[in-house]
Symmetry: C2
Subunit: 679 residues, 2 copies
């Protein structure tokens, strides 16, 4: 058989739309038809987990192709359409660093998947599913040879179930999404000032008084862990201490450093309550509690949080001050280090390895602990030099509403980490996308995680030199649709949320507007809130519905750059004009709706600005088309208008404003800025 | 407070979009704002079921408004936003005829819901949820007074889980839909030639050998019954016998009248295998089996099917022939009647009331049995005259792909049933929509049931004189969207299915086509299949994705009728032209896609026909606009083309063909037919 060998990774990317991109891809000729006679042979090592993995795979393959459940089966014959050959099984409890590599060979007559472990089989099956497409022969996968293994062994997603409770079914569909893009650690942030989210049988007042009734039972936790294991995902629990712990103190005020009583916190931010590190009772409590949780969560790692203690309760408590004096603890950092040492011994006693945020890093802790960095690669490098293993999360906070491009550019082995010795570099285990949940509900959490987390997953799985942004966006769009089929609601929740806001089925106008909006970035939402948001604030506004990254705006930016650069392909100007026209006229369409809906009304000024941008852009194009420099006064007025439109309104940004600015500048004959400012 | 009293039911319909329409509606002034402070007081009779009902209600209210779970609670105070006053509770097992009436009074300061039972509370809460809308003050319900009670006490939906297995979660979301439109009986068709779908502990080979592994465990059944009870829905199981029972015989061939062995049937139709009514072992088996199921299903009624026995196995079995001779059974009808009498005694012995299809009606059965009629109101009337209670299902078969209008026009008390005495009329308990599942999968079953079943639900709940078709369609469209929020996929599955068929995100062309198509009606799909469909046939074709009733075609028909009638409002012709243009040009857009997808290719000729219809319609309009009679030869050619386009292709009907025909006829100056033929 003739084989076309891809000359570059990029070429394979374009062709196959895989994400994360495999290490090595070699295209073949022809394709393997997938119909209802598709069958699977299990030729290698066999364990019960593999049966379940194949069952999940077949369910998904049937779903992707619309095949009935009575076909597409495991066959006893050795000549199934897909032959799976695992050399070995997996550990009883999934371990960090277990081999996830696989080889997948597809020809027009069949597919072979070889892997050293069942984990590798899982990863290969996801690749196979991504290759399924519609063809003139029905469904098919292209002939291809793939060799693949991950760059980092820890590729995680953290979901904060503390600030907003995220129900089990929502977590499960997100685990499906994780498995689809080969993430392998679900970091479950289970306690916060705003809620304690897990049933403790030893200390039931934790959930009874600290959760508003919104918590996971231990049976549900076991169920989730099983679900994750079937998808090759470890589950690492986090119990944040000694800060971020108000919800613990509602039922157990004696743990706290202040006088109490305590209420579940409703606001967002960093708060004063902290555990009392000076009382032996605190450690007795934690010993029992951590013991209980260590029995529930089989994973080797146990996350104790450890971030953002403001120390105010400690400062105000004379007994704590006296303890510090007696023990020579010169400041609150020392006191927290003392606490961490004590907690680390408890964690270790229960057979676990401690994990915590940057702040826990102090040379007096044993070298087996792991640092999760919200500060950046330099902090990670510093830890690695001291012999500590670390994970990068700085740059992967999906709640900050950054572009996928920006997350994608975040490299764990950059900065100071790039110049580590090979041995030190090995201590950088990988990273985790973090979904902090101040502004997410079960309804919109998927749209905050996906599809951008697929770009982070690729950063953590694929070779370091895979960084073509256009290719990433192209493949991420395909992956986003594929994730729809798993039941993720990042796309499907958009229209219903807009319909609720508008109070009508007729959302064409609102959608034209919402499609070019993004929520404000970083922590601006808190800073610009007219009244402080709380955990009781409805998340049903336009800012909660719009996507973190506007695809329309990105495409518009590209088109304007082509136009202004003088290298526009035919049709580009027409497309740009069509959009500008739509925006200019959209205000008229929406006008009658604003008065009917309180939720819609707050974006009336945003719509007004977009309309003005549309008019400005069209006029600028007219000048450009006539090769007539726009009058200076007009340009000044338009730039002022653009400047206004760039400002956040209703906590929303109009993402096309910078490109309209570029058009206006170009129409004036002014040099365009070197690029549209990065989002 | 000033009150505007609606002068007609129709006026209330237009304003409130309730479905089913309540018995009495009186509008008030103002509205009650629904925000996160919304609370519920339970002022009347209290039972555990009521707490759960209110919890479900609040969950749904939060979902509709996007409110957080920590607000909108039950309050101890007597002055909640909504005060619920139930006079009594409900029966331990929900009974036929339990009072479901309620009174709902909403003013701008609060809402009061009064009902004699918790069941009435449930129905009233659904009405309240339907009233929630977006307003300039946020979410609100209009001030209104409603008195409501159902016309019929048995308002059911049957789902056939035998021919295609329907997973539990799919059933649950359909129960949500049932509750939303006040249906109160889920009839669960659990055994068929193609599958035995429930776990029997006494006869495990039933599910082990008769289900392809696709069956409900007894725990799942209990779970579903509980779920239904919380929504005021009775669950009536059906085990079809003595025919439709091949799947039983795979594990227990000794029950059958033929020599066996038996395989699970894969084809559709009426088959020969039938239980042997002459062996005592059959009744011993059924005694144990019905006893087991009677213990599992608490409902008073037990459905034994009893339909479509072709008698061939009986004819061919000498022992059976000899038995008939000895017992003076002159034909197979007599033999089945003998079987039914025996089975009825077993059903009664286990404390249940027997229910069966038309065929079981024989004067020798006791008067407490219930007849479900697939034959029609006359058959129902005949049963009622003999003293039997009955249900109408003829006219409510949603698998036949009829329009909502046609189902809506089906009246249980019509035909011979209209002239029954009042006492006889009372024996007509209601009716059931029937979802037979030859061509449904978990993916498209919702779209076959909804929204049309809402029209059937209204027929069974609302006063007999509620029959304004336009109002029904208007309210059904609103209800359809509302059902989306319950997780029903009748709308949301459409685009993903079309994307799979096209193999691309760009489905604008396919959608323009699919939007005016409907599956062939009645049993034409079987009759026109190129090869016999089986239970293993993928249900991923265009015919499986298109809606049973095309809203676009209905609107087009209305517009054409206006135009041809000379009473078109401004803009109607423009809209008609826009659609015709789209259809004419759509073929060009789709052309390049046909070659890329096998599933799409089969509709290439359909698209071609639609394109020709578009061109014909536009030309006809041109003639009409110029008041110039179209040339006879052109008219003849167009009518031939329309005739061709009316024929089913790929098992699809182009629903706009009759209206284009009307335009062509009008352009020729020919008298239009009195109306477009009924679908």
């Amino acid at each position: 058989m003739l084989c076309a060998i891809f000359t570059s990774v990029v070429e394979a990317q374009q062709s196959l739309n895989l994400m994360p991109l495999p290490e090595k891809v070699q295209a073949g000729n022809g394709r393997l038809v997938i119909d209802r006679t598709f069958s699977v042979s299990l030729a290698g090592h066999h364990e019960a987990r593999l049966d379940r993995v194949v069952e999940i795979f077949l369910g998904q393959l049937r779903q992707q192709t619309g095949m009935p459940p009575i076909d597409m089966k495991v066959t006893d014959s050795a000549s199934g359409t897909l032959v799976i050959q695992a050399a070995g099984g997996t550990k009883q409890v999934q371990e960090l660093g277990e081999d996830e590599s696989y080889k997948l060979d597809i020809s027009d007559s069949g597919a072979k998947l070889k892997a050293p472990t069942t984990l590798g089989v899982m990863r290969g099956l996801e690749t196979l599913l991504q290759l399924v497409r519609t063809s003139s022969d029905g469904f098919a996968v292209p002939a291809v040879s793939i060799e693949d293994s991950p760059r980092f062994s820890w590729r995680g997603l953290m979901i904060d179930a503390g600030r907003h409770f995220i129900p089990l079914d929502v977590l499960k569909r997100n685990l499906d999404g994780m498995a689809a893009v080969k993430l392998n650690v679900f970091h479950w942030h289970l306690s916060e000032n705003q809620g304690f989210r897990i049933e403790s049988k030893k200390f039931p007042k934790l959930q009874e008084m600290g959760s508003d009734g919104l918590y996971y039972t231990q049976n549900e936790v076991r169920d989730l862990i099983k679900y994750a294991r079937e998808r090759g995902i470890r589950v690492v629990p986090e119990f944040d201490m000694p800060g971020h712990s108000t919800a613990w103190f509602v039922g157990y005020p004696e743990l706290a450093s202040g006088p109490g009583p305590y209420q579940i916190e409703r606001q967002w931010g960093v708060f004063d309550p902290a555990m009392d590190p000076t009382k032996e009772e605190t450690y007795k409590f934690l010993d029992k509690f951590i013991g209980e949780m260590a029995g529930l969560f089989p994973d080797q790692f146990f996350h104790i949080g450890g971030d953002e203690v403001n120390g105010k309760e400690w400062d105000a408590n004379p007994k704590i001050q006296s303890f510090m004096h007696v023990h020579g603890l010169k400041d609150n950092n020392d006191l927290q280090a003392y606490f961490n040492q004590r907690v680390q011994k408890i964690v270790a006693k229960h057979g676990k390895t401690m994990l915590g945020w940057d702040e826990i890093l102090r040379p007096d802790l044993p070298k087996d602990i792991v640092i999760q960095s919200w500060r950046g690669p330099d902090s990670l490098a510093q830890a690695a030099k001291q012999g500590y293993r670390g994970l990068l999360s700085s740059g992967y906070y999906v709640d900050l509403m950054w572009s996928a491009e920006r997350h994608y550019a975040t490299e764990p082995q950059s900065g100071a980490a790039a110049s580590l010795t090979p041995e030190e570099q090995k201590r950088i285990l990988g990273g985790e996308a973090c979904m902090w949940s101040e502004y997410v509900s079960p309804e919109n959490v998927d749209s905050r995680i996906w599809p951008r987390t697929a770009a982070i997953a690729e950063r953590l799985w694929s070779p370091q030199d895979v960084r073509d942004v256009n290719s990433m966006y192209q493949r991420m769009a395909v992956t986003s649709r594929w994730l729809d089929g798993l039941g993720l609601t990042h796309n499907s929740s958009y229209d219903p949320m807009l319909r609720r806001i508008a109070g009508t089925d007729n959302i064409a106008g609102l959608k034209a507007l919402a499609d070019v909006l993004e929520p404000v970035k970083d922590y601006t939402r808190e800073e610009t809130a007219p009244a402080p948001a709380t955990s009781a604030s409805p998340l049903n506004r336009v800012v909660d519905a719009v996507r973190p990254e506007s695809a329309t705006a990105r495409q518009f930016t590209d088109a304007v750059n082509e136009l202004v650069g003088g290298a526009a392909k035919p049709g580009v100007e027409a497309r740009v004009r069509e959009l500008l026209n739509r925006w200019r006229d959209n205000q008229v369409e929406l006008q009658s709706q604003f008065e009917k809906s309180l939720l819609l009304k707050e974006v009336a000024p945003v719509s007004q600005s977009l309309s003005a941008l549309g008019a400005a852009g069209l006029a600028a194009l007219d000048y450009l088309d006539r090769s007539e420099p726009a009058p200076a006064a007009w340009v000044t007025a338009q730039l002022a208008l653009v400047e206004q439109a760039k400002k956040a309104q209703a906590q929303l940004l109009i993402m096309v404003a910078p490109s309209v600015e570029k058009l206006v500048q170009a129409s004036a004959g002014q040099p365009a800025p070197s690029s549209v400012p990065a989002k």
